[in-house]
């Protein structure tokens, strides 16, 4: 999100899901949409059925390729070079949107200069995508009246993740495809409430509504609202916390509804970090891998047992409603957090429970973006922020009039070539990339406890190209040992042309063959995301 915030002033899907069906062209990069966002992919298929042109850029032959006009099979980790060379063609052939660039952007000259070396031929050399296809992609994307870009973790979980996002933003800007209907830059959020968790300030540098903790006037506003003195120092990101635990500066951690001991890249490293803590509290619905390391485990609630709101990828705030009672002595998550707050601070009445609707109103009073949203309105339908007033209908797409940066213009950001941190070599000759499969979700704590899903997708596998399988002498379903510099796992081979030669894919859902034991914790220096999508591995039978 750091990338989009720099360019536009805020980071979220600029457009709505329903608009996808009205796209004339789409670029899907680093998103296996049919498996990870199945319902969003239906809109893409609808657009294709209506005649839209779909460009899929992915090293894997993902199911969406079947619907694509053009498939760019670039090497893992070369996304920004691919995008840069597409933009090089757009400028070379004069396909850019000159009016948009002049009226609504800044930093253009420097950006143009930065693209000079990214010729389609150079693009082909780095990405492996034929120069002709790069040109075709440029023409398809730039000649459409409305073109949307859709991406996910496939471009962000890299050491140059922020640059990749910047390149995506540049492409939308250079073709004038942002700030209008059925276009835009659209990060697809992997979990139900990633958008909401960010919106609510579960980030170390911002309060709710992306208001920066290190701006004194903003800090003061929250100090007044909360009646407390607050810290003006930006906190630690999740990835930095691991280091701080290991060097002893971080002593106590409270993990709420996450399972980093399986989802963190280079898991061995993070498990060591959790073990080094003086005190670990985990609140979850199951005894997860992380909970097993805790000093105190608190039983939480599923979505079916509570009242509240989730905010979807398209900034839509929607109600969550209680259907059933929780089992055993389980308490509402909101009550648990509230109790800890009251007991830590020694303030408030521990016999009172917080009311979700009141809490929502509290945030709405602190963040103008949702000031017009309340539970009464949400009773009828979900609302997309920004929704500043009680009679505002919500916002389908962002930046129609101006961008949220000072001066109101979008910023072109030059994106240099950066290689992945760990490239294959003699010792570790294959590139490992990771992701999800349709039938499971994240670390599988929920889906692997769902009988049907687990019956269809019962075990871990590694996708290996038939050419590599021949070299390795491995047949379908035979066991392979996959090792990186950080760990080693044993799992079945799935021989398939889904992956190109020299690249293997492992889904990260399975604790018994955890892909993240292998992945790298090399970090993007800007947004501190870890490079889960590219690392070097060795494969043995």
């Amino acid at each position: 999100m750091a990338g989009l915030a720099t360019k536009f002033g805020s980071g979220a899907m600029t457009n709505s899901v329903a608009e996808i069906a009205e796209n004339e062209a789409m670029l899907v990069i680093g998103s296996n949409t049919t498996e990870n966002h199945p319902i969003i992919s239906l809109r893409m298929k609808e657009a294709v059925a209506k005649g839209a042109k779909l460009i899929v850029a992915d090293p894997r032959k993902i199911p969406l390729v079947k619907f694509a006009t053009l498939w760019l099979r670039h090497r893992p980790g070369t996304d920004s070079t691919l995008l840069n060379s597409i933009m090089n063609v757009i400028l070379a052939e004069g396909l850019e949107d000159k009016k948009f660039i002049k009226d609504r952007t800044e930093g253009y000259e420097e950006f143009v200069k930065s693209l000079e070396s990214f010729t389609p031929e150079y693009g082909e050399e780095i990405t492996g995508v034929p120069a002709e296809d790069i040109k075709k992609a440029a023409r398809i994307f730039a000649s459409a009246n409305n073109a949307g870009i859709y991406y996910a973790m496939g471009i962000t979980q890299h050491v140059m993740g922020t640059y990749n996002v910047c390149a995506v933003g540049n492409l939308a800007m250079v073709t004038g495809n942002v700030g209008k209907y059925a276009a835009g830059v659209n990060p697809l959020r992997g979990q139900n409430n990633v958008q909401g968790a960010c919106d609510m300030g579960s980030l170390p540098n911002v309060y709710p509504g992306y208001q920066k903790v290190d701006i004194p006037a903003i800090k003061q506003k929250f100090e007044t609202a909360w009646g407390k003195t607050l810290s003006g120092n930006v906190g630690l990101t999740a990835s930095e916390m691991t280091g701080a635990m290991l060097d002893g500066t971080l002593k106590g951690l409270y993990v709420f509804g996450e399972n980093p001991a399986l989802s963190d890249p280079n898991t061995t490293h993070s498990v060591k970090a959790f073990a080094a803590l003086d005190f670990l509290v985990v609140q979850d619905i199951f005894m997860t891998e992380t909970a097993q390391l805790a000093d105190v485990v608190l039983p939480g609630t599923t979505f079916a047992e509570k009242e509240g709101t989730f905010t979807s990828s398209e900034r839509r705030v929607q109600r969550v409603r209680k259907a059933i009672k929780s089992p055993g002595e389980v308490r509402l998550d909101l009550d648990i957090i509230d109790q800890i707050y009251k007991r830590v601070s020694g303030e408030g009445d521990v016999n009172q429970s917080p009311n979700p609707s009141d809490l929502f109103d509290e945030v709405a009073a602190l963040w103008p973006g949702i000031a017009g949203i309340n539970y009464d309105r949400l009773e009828k339908e979900g609302l997309q922020w920004p929704c500043p007033t009680a009679d505002h209908p919500g916002t389908k797409f962002l930046f129609e009039q101006s961008f949220s940066r000072e001066g109101g213009k979008a910023l072109f950001t030059p994106v240099p070539f950066v290689a992945s941190d760990e490239l294959p070599d003699k010792e570790y000759p294959y590139v490992l990339t990771t992701g999800r499969e349709l039938f499971h979700y994240h670390t599988g704590t929920m889906t692997r406890r769902s009988t049907g899903l687990n019956r269809i997708a019962p075990e871990a596998f590694v996708e290996v190209n038939p050419a590599d399988a021949d070299v390795l002498g491995v047949g379908q379903g035979e066991f392979l040992t996959v090792s990186s510099r950080r760990g080693s796992i044993k799992l079945k081979a799935k021989v398939s042309k889904i992956v190109p030669p020299n690249v293997v894919f492992i889904p990260f859902h399975y604790k018994e063959a955890a892909a993240n034991l292998l992945t790298s914790d090399a970090m993007d220096p800007i947004c501190k995301i870890m490079e889960a999508k590219v690392c070097a591995v060795r494969i043995e039978k």
């Binding site: 059925a49 300030g201 509804g257 996450e258 005190f279 599923t302 979505f303 957090i337």
Partner: protein, 348 residues
Amino acid sequence: MINLTIDGKSIEVAEGTTVLEAAKQLGIKIPTLCHDDRLKPFGACRLCIVEIAGMPKPVTSCTTPATAGMSVQTQSARLYRLRKTTVELLLSDHPNDCMTCIGTGECVLQELAYQYGIRENRFAGAMREHKRVDHNPFITRDQNKCVMCGLCVRVCDEVQGIGAIGYAERGFEAKVIPPFGHDLDCVFCGQCISVCPTGALSGSIWSGKPRMEGVKFTDTTCTYCGCGCNITLRSHGDQVIRVESKSDNHNRGWLCVKGRFGFDFINSTDRLTTPLIRREKGGHFEKATWDEALDHIAKKFNEIKEKNGPDALAGLSSARCTNEENYLFQKLFRAGIGTNNVDHCARY
């Protein structure tokens, strides 16, 4: 725009509007079995027939575009008789087992039989003898109940873009099957189940669970990915027994395999049900009361804060939990403890 009259009422509609859609705009209900607003018109069931002035025979309103000056009649003794006969024919080889059928209460065919008062059937003859197919963990097929409306085939093709099923055989033997009878390309989204007008397709995990009696419906938001699909949970007591979605929401009623079928974790016996404490480092977990667990946490947090400062504490919040919980969680760390060390896993 086009002007036409339906049952004596005039209406103006856009070019390309079908007679069925125009009637709907007037609030006139025409029976259908194979029609779904979200799919292309098909014209298979013949129930939506109407009489149009100047046309010798009744035509299907779902496939007939409205034209200027058209005069449409949706109800007449003749249309009633034709529709009733159609339903009778459909029922003539339909298993008469509504008492035990999973579709009861939501079955369009059952409702039509009720409306037309069909108790006995004039048409007797052979009955289909398809076997119940239960090859995968999600979708149960009871093809003797299929009315060949084609909704499942069309939704799989038009919406899901998969085309996992199609028609095989002809006439009385006609049936809907995957290629050569295998589940080749199915992604188990269950869109087909959601549009099936009878009990021919149902969710395998619904089997044996309450149908309507004592069932509570709760509208909520799916807990899986960021699509934010609107879903309705059917629960009975404290058990969630089915997930479905209404067709008029932003996801248009479509769901994926996880959203539709991946809900049994909610009532899993693996759920944590009491607080657990490790009373000494390296010790075993022991059950604790809430007061004990919460006081222990507050004490430890305050000890660390006093000794090492507030920045020695951190919180990882959750992209799976609600906005309100996330808000309170970051407020706990910022205002309650005094640190900005709060993040969540959006980065992974």
